[in-house]
């Protein structure tokens, strides 16, 4: 899914921890060849940094001897890559056809209301990022919502409310 409303600028974060760059370099150096490995490297960078700020994209470009535009071109093409900081938890509503006809739009709307953000945004407290996704392949359990790696199936709006609240409580508990 090429992103809708891609923000034209990449975020610049100057003070990224150097040890993260070291980890990324170690990964790149461990590859037998960087030929065709750009997507793998971007995935790795996103895993290490959590998102892909401008400095990271340029670092990858220099390391691979390609242009920054090429790296940016790939990052902006694919939905799984993000150039914005993400919340602690990512909530993804499945918008595949099976989930759509079984009530996913109501779940998505409820989440937007409850969290006060739109798809693609992160709550102010940094707890949740809201996303849509296209089918996790558990269509038999539609409608499906995924929070981080956990899949919740056959969801009703009321159940969703409870689940979100349990995450909020947990976060509040940790803070205390």
């Amino acid at each position: 899914m090429p992103k809708t409303g891609v923000r034209a600028q990449t975020i610049s974060v100057k003070d990224l921890p150097p040890e993260k760059f070291t980890r990324l370099d170690e990964y790149i150096n461990s590859l037998p060849s960087t030929k065709g490995a750009l997507i793998d490297i971007i995935y790795k960078a996103q895993e290490i940094f959590g998102f892909l700020p401008r400095e990271v994209l340029l670092h990858i470009a220099r390391k691979m001897g390609i242009s920054g535009a090429e790296v940016f071109g790939v990052v902006s093409f694919y939905t799984n890559f993000t150039m914005n900081p993400q919340g602690l938890h990512t909530i993804s509503v499945c918008m595949g056809t099976a989930c759509f006809v079984k009530g996913a739009p109501a779940l998505a709307q409820r989440l937007q209301e409850k969290l006060g953000i739109h798809e693609g945004e992160t709550t102010k407290d940094g707890l949740f990022t809201l996303k849509n996704l296209r089918c996790v392949g558990a269509c038999g359990l539609a409608p499906v919502v995924m929070i981080d790696d956990k899949i919740y199936g056959r969801l009703t709006v009321a159940e969703l409310d409870q689940i979100i609240e349990s995450y909020q409580k947990e976060a509040a508990g940790v803070a205390h």
Binding site: M1, D40, Y43, V74, Y78, C135, G153
Partner: protein, 628 residues
């Protein structure tokens, strides 16, 4: 351990059969076993907790000789989590909707007490292909399904290469390498009539032949398309999670046939479990010498690597897939040259779908004619469908080509959910169309679905009832394709956006009659002018719903009326005076407090304030709130 000859492999099979007993052929097993459906869908439904409960209970009762086998998708997704009990001398029994409490009950009552609990199913509604003797398949009342591609799904432990070998795994590869030339392999696949299951239905044998003959002597590649971008389809995931070795084996056979020593599986990152299963399977096959160098002592080398998708539907298209596998933007390239001429790194490349591969080993073992005897004149074998939506038995279904939609939806699928009326079934995902009641008796194959303006596609089958608005469905698909358009060519990039805008106007009651004309003209233009399959098929859901449900479009435009209430802007909620008992529940639920009325008196909605949130509709237990 390394397997160097076909004889060694058969020896290994005999050993392995002892450990899994007769489980594969659905016969009574010799040792008590508990199978748990642990594919993504099963785990999401809670199979993990069920497994823990069973383990605890077995430990508590000191039943250490009972084996727990996590298997892939059993197919009855509507009743997950699923647990199957196999006891010696008895037919297997399947239990659905199992939770931790019920799991304990099954252990105590069935495994120990030897009593079949009330809701166990002993007769599955499908038959599995028999690889011992190539028997013909006779559908019966209950059993309309034949499992070829899904032969091992839900029966074997996908993390055990021995269980795969016990079901004649890798024997087709051994046979191909030691007893057949690449040409006879291709000939067998051609004779089988196998056509690509990824959507297009191109004859697989022919594609292999093209790639083999193209630029002899150069390095070639064989790809597995495991992108499964179709929203609402999950058969490829099920095969990869439930039977990964069948894909590896078929890729090696295909590699031998076309002359490739490297296979690449392009898999979507959204399928982490499938990726894990594939990695395990590849490592096991290497350890056994069934992948790697000098397979079966024939000097044939074959290795497989994985590439991950990064969330772009268009990457399922074969030229984009290859670009993406090279680490680039996944934009389609012009054809020709076809991948069989110039694909991965410019070399001849053959791309096949997961399910296509899953059919290959049985064809090699049982022969092309056996496969060609199943199905219809021009569509051979079986097809796996991911049956979902408003049908009772959602799940994985594998039927011989030529089975009718009615059989799938009503007999296998158990009819429409919650007593609703069937309205349409959508096949082929964003590239397909809807099929109405009038065509339910159409025998499904590539040609007849095309003849009624839909397509087989990859096998997603979404059932819709009278509460689904067809204009809204068309808008949904256009939003999808517009979102997924790679933007390389204008007809698709701009055209799908305009189509979506018109549909949006219609669902908001802001369209004019002239818009219908614009819609059709634009749709035809995009079909003709777009560069790749995404754009060429994007208008299909519009054209198809327009053809079969024109009255709904007209209602939206002329009467500003959406009969299903799906189009929010057109819904009006009101309260039925006859039914309202004045319970006040709706008034409490209304976020803008626009419902008035006293306790035990009829309530009323102030239309000027209502925001159409629908809270009153879902709250009222007496069916008194009505829409549209």
């Amino acid at each position: 351990m390394r397997i160097n000859t076909l004889e060694q492999l058969k020896e290994q099979r005999i050993q392995a059969e002892k450990t899994i007993q007769n489980r594969i052929f659905g016969q009574p097993s010799a040792r008590p076993e508990v199978l748990i459906g642990m594919a993504t869908c099963g785990i999401a439904a809670g199979a993990g907790e069920v497994k823990e409960a069973i383990e605890e209970e077995l430990e508590r009762l000191k039943l250490t000789d009972i084996k727990i086998v996590p298997v892939g998708c059993i197919g009855y997704c509507h009743s997950e989590p699923l647990v199957q009990v196999n006891l010696p001398g008895q037919p297997p029994v399947l239990y659905g909707n199992v939770d931790a409490a019920k799991a304990r009950e099954i252990v105590k009552g069935h495994l120990v007490g030897q009593q079949l609990l009330a809701d166990g199913i002993t007769e599955p509604n499908f038959e599995r292909v028999n690889l011992e003797e190539a028997k013909a398949f006779e559908p019966t009342g209950q059993r309309k399904q034949l499992r070829i591609a899904l032969r091992n799904c839900g029966v074997i432990d996908p993390t055990s290469i021995d269980e795969y070998i016990a079901g004649h795994g890798y024997e087709a590869l051994g046979k191909a390498l030691t007893q057949m030339t690449p040409e006879t392999v291709i000939d067998t696949v051609k004779r089988s009539g196998l056509r690509g299951r990824g959507g297009g239905g191109f004859p697989t044998g022919l594609k292999w032949e093209f790639t083999r003959k193209s630029r002899p002597g150069v390095q070639k590649y064989i790809f597995c398309n495991a992108d499964e971008g179709d929203p609402g389809a999950f058969m490829d995931r099920s095969v990869l999670e439930g039977d990964p070795h069948s894909v590896l084996e078929a890729m090696a056979i295909g590699g031998y046939a076309i002359g490739a020593s490297t296979g690449v599986i392009y898999i979507r990152a959204e399928y982490p479990l499938a990726i894990k299963r594939l990695k395990t399977a590849i490592a096991q096959a290497k350890e056994y010498g069934l992948l790697g160098g000098n397979l079966f002592g024939t000097g044939f080398n074959f290795d497989i690597e994985l590439r991950y998708g990064a969330g772009a539907f268009v990457c399922g298209e074969e030229t984009s897939l290859i670009n993406s596998a090279e680490g680039k933007r996944g934009e389609p390239s012009n054809k020709p040259p076809f991948p069989s001429e110039s694909g991965f790194w410019g070399q001849p490349t053959c791309v096949n779908n997961v399910e296509t591969y899953a059919n290959v080993a049985p064809i090699i073992l049982n022969g092309g004619d056996w496969f060609a005897a199943i199905g219809t004149e021009r569509s051979k074998g079986t097809k796996v469908f991911a049956l979902a939506g408003k049908v009772n038995n959602v799940g994985l279904v594998e039927v011989p080509m030529g089975t009718t939609l009615r059989e799938i939806i009503y007999e296998i699928g158990g009819g429409i959910k919650d007593g609703h009326r069937f309205k349409a079934v959508q096949t082929g995902g964003p590239s397909g169309g809807v099929i109405t009641e009038d065509y339910l008796d159409t025998p499904i194959d590539y040609e007849s679905l095309k003849a009624i303006d839909s397509i087989m596609g990859s096998g997603g089958m979404i059932v819709m009832d009278e509460t689904d608005c067809m204009v809204n469905i068309a808008k949904y698909y256009l939003e999808f394709t517009q979102d997924e358009s790679c933007g390389k060519c204008t007809p698709c990039r701009v055209g799908t956006k305009r189509l979506h805008e018109i549909l949006e106007r219609i669902t908001e009651g802001k369209a004019e009659m002239a818009d219908i004309d614009k819609l059709t003209k634009l749709a035809r233009t995009i079909k003709d002018a777009a560069l790749c399959g995404l754009g060429q098929t994007a208008p299909n859901p519009v054209l198809s719903t327009l053809k079969f449900f024109e009255n709904e479009y007209l209602q939206h435009i002329q009467e500003h009326y959406c009969a299903t209430g799906s189009c929010k802007a057109l819904v009006k909620y009101s309260i039925d005076k006859e039914r309202c008992i004045g319970c006040t529940a709706c008034a409490k639920a209304c976020p803008v407090k626009c419902i008035s009325g006293e306790v035990k008196k009829v309530h009323a909605i102030d239309q000027t304030k209502c925001i159409q949130c629908g809270a009153c509709f879902t709250t009222c237990k007496f069916g008194a709130v009505i829409k549209p």
